[in-house]
């Protein structure tokens, strides 16, 4: 198992190294002159030269790349062109909105999806199952940002129970949580659908196992059979998928943050694109990639603990 994990870790590090090359190429090499991108084509030559010098764009590519990697390793990400502050602080501040949003969405998704999946498996092939499956089909088809807009229409415009957007900061945690309810609901829609499907099929697998039949034969109450015997083992694949989703939830927050005007990392990326703030963009993208890779590794780790049977390499 140690060998399996160290191999996964090595693979993740190689992927990460390649990812930095790709991001660097897309952000700094592909557009030609990054200074021109940042200041626009009508910038004066002396301002361009000054920007090039201050960001080191006049240095050779390899030097610029290594400088960036060195900065990443020491958490010195440089300073933002548009905001004039340190990129590390900027991202740190924005994560205070995005991480709680993603966590809330994931918690809500698991809370709803697991019982739904158990219910569907229990009613397998009957109307209750069709209902849940129909709902999941709709859940993966409805764009989550539109669902967000519909929630705003209902709960902010018509009934005025929740704010239509914006974020009050964390001075008053209750008020902040209140502002995150609608965004988290919209972000979780697709994840609920996927997790409910995974739970259902995992439950269908475990419900066919001998130990479940034994439990039923012993006369164990249906509730005990479903939740204690079947669900416990079905949770292994569910945890795996929930983990994989978690990484992408953070990235998926980009659009939802735009819908609700939340000052999170996603909104930062969006604004940085409009501000042509390349330094911010490349660092956010690489941090998200690290996050996805780290989550995948954690999932592998959790999987190895939950399911000690030897793994076949795929």
């Amino acid at each position: 198992m140690l060998e399996f994990l160290s191999r996964r870790l090595a693979a993740a590090l190689v992927t990460l190294a390649l990812a930095t090359v790709v991001v660097f190429a897309v952000v700094e090499v592909l557009p030609g002159d990054p200074a021109l991108v940042m200041l626009g084509t009508d910038a004066r030559p002396d301002t361009l030269a000054a920007l090039r010098a201050s960001y080191g764009f006049d240095q050779p590519l390899a030097v610029r790349y290594l400088h960036w990697i060195g900065g990443l390793l020491t958490f010195d990400l440089g300073s933002s062109h548009a905001y004039g502050t340190s990129v590390a602080k900027l991202i740190g501040d924005r994560l205070q909105v995005t991480l709680p949003l993603a966590a809330l969405a994931l918690a809500w998704a698991m809370l709803v999806a697991i019982p739904l999946g158990v219910f569907a498996a229990w009613k397998h092939g009957r109307p209750g199952d069709w209902g849940v499956m129909g709902f999941t089909q709709i859940g993966i088809s409805v764009p989550n940002f539109w669902f967000g807009i519909v929630l705003v229409l209902l709960f902010a415009v018509t009934w005025q129970l929740f704010p239509a957007g914006g974020f009050p900061g964390w001075q008053d945690p209750l008020k902040s949580a209140h502002a995150l309810v609608l965004p988290a609901l919209s972000l979780s829609l697709g994840e609920i659908a996927i997790l409910a499907r995974v739970t259902r099929s995992a439950m269908l697998d475990t419900l066919r196992e001998d130990y479940v039949r034994t439990a039923r034969a012993k006369g164990a109450p249906e509730r005990t059979v479903l939740f204690r015997h079947a669900l416990r083992n079905a949770l292994i694949p569910v945890t795996t998928v929930a983990g994989l989703i978690a990484g992408f939830l953070v990235a998926g927050a980009v659009i939802i943050e735009s819908v609700f005007r939340l000052p999170g990392v996603g909104q930062l990326v969006y604004d940085s694109i409009n501000n042509r703030d390349l330094v911010v963009i490349k660092n956010v993208v690489i941090l998200f990639t690290i996050l996805v890779l780290a989550v995948n590794l954690l999932v592998d780790l959790a999987y190895a603990f939950l399911d000690p049977r030897p793994r076949v390499r795929t």
Binding site: V26, V37, S141, A251, F288, T289
Partner: protein, 280 residues
Amino acid sequence: MKRFLARASRHVGFQVGAVLLLLFVGTALVSLLWTPHAVDELQMRAKLMPSSAAYPLGTDHLGRDVLSRIMVGAQTSIAVGLIAVVIGMTAGVALGAWAAARGGWVDEALSRTSDLIFAFPAVLIAILITSVLGASAENAILAIAIFNIPVFGRVTRGAALAMWSRDFVRAATAMGQGPLGITVRHVLPNIASVLIVQATIQFAVAILAEAGLSYLGLGAQPPVPSWGRMLRDAQTYIFQAPELAIWPGLAIALAVLGLNMLGDGLRDLLDPRLRLLRVG
């Protein structure tokens, strides 16, 4: 074919999906020839009107007919989604089939590359690409296509590898046919159903992605109507004209729902044992 139709006639999900897809494609085709109003016809005196006989779904913030714009928006969705999937599928199937036929370092290199692409959060990279290259329908297609390549690559590789271990393919090898000939004559025809099902699902994913990008202003640029963009504009006027935020979203949801149901139905009808990759 007859058996397929007989089974299809009993598969409700497949039928609903097929009807929704026909509606979607039909709307786009009709809009090529006819729309209730010209798409760009501005009526400055009839801005943000509720639905009426002349404007069944009302008018937008520039006084344009919403129904006409939704009809033409179907063209944009289909064009962007279809081209992105065709590009991704062509490249992905070729690379996946190559990896399966060649094995060894080719397989290893291609598999690691697809791992690399999957490690990036798709939404962010699509945003990155469209922002570096400029916001346009073409660049949205490119951004979506790139993420379709590894999806089709993996599916093709997996299905093709299974074919390569089958007796009839071994027999063909023994008869001295080359890997390219075997791939084209024996492997690809036998995995076509997997690819068709995956393509249907990816088309749905691509339409969602296009809608998301154009909602952020990174897809087709005005005055080309696109459903995502319409939602963005509608949100600005959500207090004055709430219905505006309903129709384009409903159109996206129905189109995607149709393709998803059709894909799931096709999977049941063609090969119930298929497992799909879902990457969003």
